[in-house]
Amino acid sequence: MLAALRCCGPRSFPAAFYEAIPAWSPWLVPSRGRKSRYDPPAKSKASRLKVPPPVDPAELYVVTERYRQHRLVLSALRALLLGSSIFRSEVVQRKREAQRDAEDSAALSEEHRLLMAWNDAENARQRARREERIRKEEEERKMQKLQAAENKAKLMEAFLKEKEKEVLQLQEEAKTFITPENLEARIEECLDNPRNYNFAIDKEGRIVKRTALS
């Protein structure tokens, strides 16, 4: 298809016909034809010097200026169209609302005022209840904390008392301990006072000195 297009390419038609065709017509052949991008260029093109197309600086300046103006105008048009299309529905809605409000605005505003007042009263009532509840909860919590502290203090006191008792008892017992100083005296004492452990004990714990055998 590309070869067929190429045979009726730019060379075969007169220049005037070529000028008259706009840039976007399918008569212009694409630059990459029979070869793919990986095929090497031909030997006849070895000495070819690729030169960019010549540019007239005056014309370039004029064209840049024209582009700038054109883009400015286009952006302004776009902004205008954007405004008119997006906000059109909102503007229409607002118009309708204004119309409706203008019809019976007094009654509506009165009703609105009453409703708002009732709403405010409800809010105040709920707020009072809520604050009451919160206050009660706070007090509860404080009471509980105090109770807990008291309990803890009591427990500590009891514990301390127990320990005191034990310490005193130990101190009492310490008077009867055998120390290196008492050692000699206590040994003498034990030797002087022999104790007789030759007794039995019944189930109630009474000592029985006399047995059946004797």
Binding site: A23, W24, P26, V62, L77, S84
Partner: protein, 136 residues
């Protein structure tokens, strides 16, 4: 019956609405439809709305005929649609948008070339008419 239509619809990332030409017609007979479509769609693929058409080949009276739906064009431009270069040029020529700079530039170049061609034709004719008089 399980409805899977929405799951089969093509979803794109990015892209924007573009007003451009979709090529139709047959071999050696092009025909363009001016179309508002997603920029990532194929040139002749599914479009959002057709806004007009253009016949690039001149008719019996030497005119190139195009049809445009200006109301919907305004709507799409207001929705933020971009324009392709040929679409811009066409709308410039139609008067809906200002003329594209390259239209003016190409017209100037053509005029200059024609004037130069005329001048190059005229002096040889004058030179040719003067030479015989000089020779004589």
């Amino acid at each position: 019956m399980v409805q899977l239509g929405s799951a089969l619809l093509k979803g794109y990332r990015g892209g924007h609405v573009v007003i451009r030409f979709a090529l139709g017609g047959c071999t050696n007979r092009p025909f363009y439809r001016i179309v508002a479509a997603h920029s990532k769609r194929a040139r002749d693929g599914k479009y959002l709305e057709q806004l007009g058409c253009l016949d690039p080949l001149p008719n019996a009276h030497g005119e190139k005929v195009a049809g445009l739906n200006l109301e919907r064009l305004r709507h799409w431009l207001g929705c933020g649609a971009q324009l392709s270069r040929p679409a811009e040029k066409l709308l410039g020529l139609a008067g809906f948008l200002p003329l594209h700079p390259m239209t003016i530039t190409n017209a100037e170049r053509l005029r200059r070339r024609r004037r130069r061609a005329q001048e190059s034709d005229a002096p040889p004719a004058e030179g040719g008419s003067q030479e015989p008089s000089a020779a004589v």
